[in-house]
Point group: C2
Chain length 295, copies 2
Amino acid sequence: MANIGFIGLGIMGMPMAGHLIAAGHQLFVSSRSARAAEAVALGATACDGNAAIARAADIIITMVPDTPEVEQVLFGADGVAEGLSPGKLVIDMSSISPLATKDFAARIAALGADYVDAPVSGGEVGAKAATLTIMAGGGDAAFARALPLFEAMGKNITHVGGSGAGQTAKVANQIIVALNIAAVGEALLFAAKAGADPAKVREALLGGFASSRVLEVHGERMLKRSFTPGFRIDLHHKDLALALSGANALGLPLPQTAFCQQLLNSARGNGEGGLDHSAIVRQLERLAGHSLGDE
Amino acid sequence: MANIGFIGLGIMGMPMAGHLIAAGHQLFVSSRSARAAEAVALGATACDGNAAIARAADIIITMVPDTPEVEQVLFGADGVAEGLSPGKLVIDMSSISPLATKDFAARIAALGADYVDAPVSGGEVGAKAATLTIMAGGGDAAFARALPLFEAMGKNITHVGGSGAGQTAKVANQIIVALNIAAVGEALLFAAKAGADPAKVREALLGGFASSRVLEVHGERMLKRSFTPGFRIDLHHKDLALALSGANALGLPLPQTAFCQQLLNSARGNGEGGLDHSAIVRQLERLAGHSLGDE
């Protein structure tokens, strides 16, 4: 059993921390966190800030919204780096820039500590059920040290490669999910506008090469007009922004991802950033002047 | 057991006809077909042309390349319509225009006969294994009459709706498959260009929301550089042309489908129309100046 610092007790982080406590680990959280008391009630120990967490724990997990927050938590005032000593391990499970991640890993390595990037997919449901998909990047020994913790929080765990490879896989995941949602949206709109029942069409397609998790899950949400997240447009917008800023830096054209991010911009412009990402279809419906259903 | 005319003994049609003969039906084929002798050897009876087939059979199945060929076979010189009489049933299993299909069905109905559009997906492999996905449009009684024949040729059989609904579902299917292939292409190229192993990334993604038949099958083809069809670029190009001409007629914008058809144009311009549709990735690689692998 390990001494683990956990920074980022949000919608995802709190149930993940809970699974680690339930697996018998000693958790350290920041007393400055809004939900510190909740974690302490589960068995965690409160520390006075993030540097103190890094002093108390051998492994420090971060689960925060975006790249700037990870940088702040690791390297800002009262950051993890201040309390870190050689031999410790930092695991960032946030979904952030793959390029920044390589830099963060190098800066942590310069302090004598290891770094694993390990973003997740599966959302709040997966976090609560401990069925998250975890995509990890880092050295073999560091991954092996992190693996028992991952197994307490997730199901499909892959060591993708070196530093940044986990974040790269997560970006690739978000590209595919967004484009698959938009593809299902165009196809069902074509079916509806051509006079067929889009629900029947979806059913006919589930058995063949068009089948996907997105056709199952998000296709159904589009037809039932059930846009309660799930995974919010705002977050997917952030993830495709990561894809496009990475693509810009790499000189890589991602024309379809760029277009799909404009659909997410449309959603935000129409005040729908808080809806589930299956609401991408609503932007295609705006273009079409035709909806798959009433709400 | 039924008397069935079968017109279109191609790569798909010949094994489909074979399954109908094996199921005990009496088949009539045209002696003018290049592969008539092959069908006769399986037990079919040769007739002198398509009008003669329509006189001999109660149910006439067509399985030809595109909309003009269906029109020619049904309504051209020596066409099915010449030999048709009230109470017979025409089943078009080609993949053609949903809008033209509604017209063909109305013209067949004017002759007192029924019409079912029933395009398939699953390719040559599915035709040979009798595991085709069949999407049918037409009246309830006509569908019920066709169903035992479908069951001899396929596995996932859906009565989607009235005339044209089968073709509409097939177009929707082809939109999703093409866009999912292009999505996997962009995602794996991002991964490779960012320095990760795209094969490991694909593996990590198969367990989560990005998973699809396309990620499984076509993703693997992209990585193994295995572009032997499968399903040819030329045919998928035709299918997206059906989607876009339908969309034009309906006043429906399909921006992503339009872009993806340009990728198929790129493939044809580069002499790759005969490759498997997973070679869409090769056009993204041209844009990127970066390939997922050597060939």
